[in-house]
């Protein structure tokens, strides 16, 4: 019988519902169940268990995809978190720690710790602007700032063991960043300013003991000024006229400072290094002013670059500037002869204005107001030169016929 039963069953087993039939049948039964639910509650029908493995694969896929999305997007979103946000720990403990492990060279480490310090302060500013900077949050930020500046100092110390030049350069980077930050915090948060200023004092103190070599400094200035002018080209579009002029002026001043320092390098290398260090720090500050809109909105360039010249130096600079501006005014006056009447009238009017400023500068009692008046005159002359250049391009008429080439061309670049 066993044999018979087995044979019969084997044959009978070929009678099966096809997958489609089965699915169809199940749907019919399930929909019957849905239309005739159990009394006392409308419940969703459980997922079909016959095809559970299929759904399950889907589930795993979905879960996997979701996990991927989360893995990728959470850290990304977290980047914008501020203290108190749910994702803030992700930003600080995950994103930044991961980034820390990616940093290889000690110099990069110092740069990264500096950036983390800046990020903490930026978060604090953001909170403050929303009125959410509680004393607790402030204390937390202060603690983090201290931590990062110490980590940066430690990094510098470890660089110093192998390369004192590099260490000194890192020190300059750190201290100029701290300069910017402390300038931004001044008058806003006493606690944070205290912490940043303390870190800055440490940086200044250690800068006294280690100085970079002259060559190294010059190379640093070279790359930093290249970076600054590139930055300026990129961001000048989103700046107003005033900011643009300020930055251009600052860059000119730095260039002048560098030229002066290199000029005296042969006779006095020590002083040259000191001067160049100052200029490099200025360049770095200028870069962060241009890159960080946060910086731009909190401080002005004048605040960032306090005048460190002595009165005598300022008077000397003032005289140089007066001389060059006078020459340029004469040049414009010579060129205006060649343009059409309308343009000539406009230029002459503005020229008179510039001359008024110049005489105001000459008559001024104090250096600051003389500088301001002279600066205004220089701005007008800049504008008029641009106007005449544009006229030449538009009309094809030269305002500098060879016979009357002014002898002032050397000062055009100023």
């Amino acid at each position: 019988m066993k044999r018979f039963s087995e044979q019969l069953k084997k044959k009978a087993d070929t009678l099966r519902l096809s997958a489609a039939e089965k699915h169809d049948l199940r749907s019919r039964v399930v929909s019957y169940m849905e239309y005739h639910p159990l009394p006392g509650g409308s419940r969703a029908i459980a997922a079909p268990s016959r095809f559970a493995f299929l759904y399950n694969v889907q589930l795993f896929r979905t879960a996997g995809a979701l996990a991927m999305v989360l893995l990728v997007s959470v850290p990304f979103v977290a980047e914008r978190a501020v203290p108190g946000d749910v994702l803030y720990p992700v930003k600080v403990r995950l994103n930044e720690q991961v980034q820390s492990t990616l940093v290889r060279s000690p110099y990069e480490k110092v740069v990264w710790e500096t950036e983390r310090l800046e990020r903490r302060l930026a978060e604090a500013r953001l909170l403050a602007s929303e009125g959410k900077l509680t004393p607790e949050a402030e204390a937390e930020v202060a603690e983090a700032v201290k931590e990062h500046s110490e980590a940066a100092q430690k990094g510098i110390a470890s660089i110093r063991e192998t390369d004192s030049d590099e260490a000194a350069m890192a020190e300059i980077a750190l201290s100029s960043a701290l300069d910017v930050q402390s300038e931004m915090l001044q008058g806003h948060s006493v606690a944070l300013f205290g912490v940043v200023d303390a870190a800055r004092q440490v940086a200044i103190a250690s800068q006294q003991t280690s100085r970079p070599s002259y060559d190294r400094l010059l190379a640093g200035i070279e790359s930093e000024s290249t970076r600054a002018s590139e930055l300026f080209n990129t961001v000048s579009g989103e700046m107003n006229e005033r900011e643009r002029e300020d930055i251009e002026r600052t860059m000119r001043e730095i260039r002048r400072g560098v030229t002066a320092a290199t000029g005296g390098a042969e006779s006095d290398a020590e002083t040259a290094v000191t001067k160049l260090t100052v200029e490099l720090k200025k360049l770095r500050k200028l870069s962060s002013f241009m890159t960080d809109i946060d910086v731009r909105t909190s401080v002005t360039l004048a605040e960032l670059f306090p005048d460190e010249r002595s009165d005598d130096e300022r008077v000397a600079d003032l005289e140089t500037l007066t001389a060059s501006t006078t020459e340029r005014v004469e040049d414009v006056r010579a060129r205006v002869v060649y343009v059409d009447v309308n343009t000539r009238t406009a230029v002459t009017d503005r020229l008179a204005e510039a001359e008024e400023y110049m005489s105001a500068a000459a008559a001024a009692d104090d250096i600051t107001s003389a500088e301001a008046a002279l600066g205004a005159a220089a701005v007008i002359v800049d504008e008029l030169e641009g106007l005449l250049d544009a006229y030449e391009v538009e009309t094809g008429v030269s305002t500098r016929p060879s016979t009357t080439t002014p002898a002032t061309s050397t000062t055009q670049g100023e």
Partner: protein, 213 residues
Amino acid sequence: MKDIGILRVSVYNGLRMIPEDTGNAGGDQETRFLAAFDEYNDALFRHATLRVSDRERAIDIVHDTFTKVWTYVRSGHEIENFRPFLYKVLNNLIVDEYRKNRESSLDAILAQEGVDEGAFAELSESTAESLAATIDGKQAFSVLETLPDVYREVIVLRFVDGLGPKEISELVEETENTVSVRIHRGLKMLRIHIEREEKSREETRTLRTRHTS
């Protein structure tokens, strides 16, 4: 035979393993019902197909079986073991199907059965076994359709669905004796059919040989 208690079956509902219990929650009832569907739909379909010899009709009967059982669950009854219950409902539906179509023949068969019922030799399991041993299962399958349904019913239940005589007797609402007799007769009929087929095949063969020679 191995009894697969539904209570010990874990239902994989696509999300996690839920150990079945006898809880009365609605979701639980639904889950258990669907688990029973998934477990038995093939067997019920097979049984129905062998009985009604019509694939589409068999599917409909299986569908009706489940909706009927669901209605029973809805009315507040708790089914502890789905298998006999499903078979019972399925069998009733198939019998209804026969009553609708072939009422006369069924009556005739039952009348014939009454006469012979109680034949001693046919009541023993062992004689059924020895009889079955003489039949080729594969051939039996092909001639199963020719059997009247009362015999087909018990043969399928016994040898395809693997139910014991006691279960079958409960299912078809006959005594165990009657079930045994029907199984015995069914097997005999199968053997006769097979033999008859073989004979006719042999005849055609000899006819053909004669023609060719």
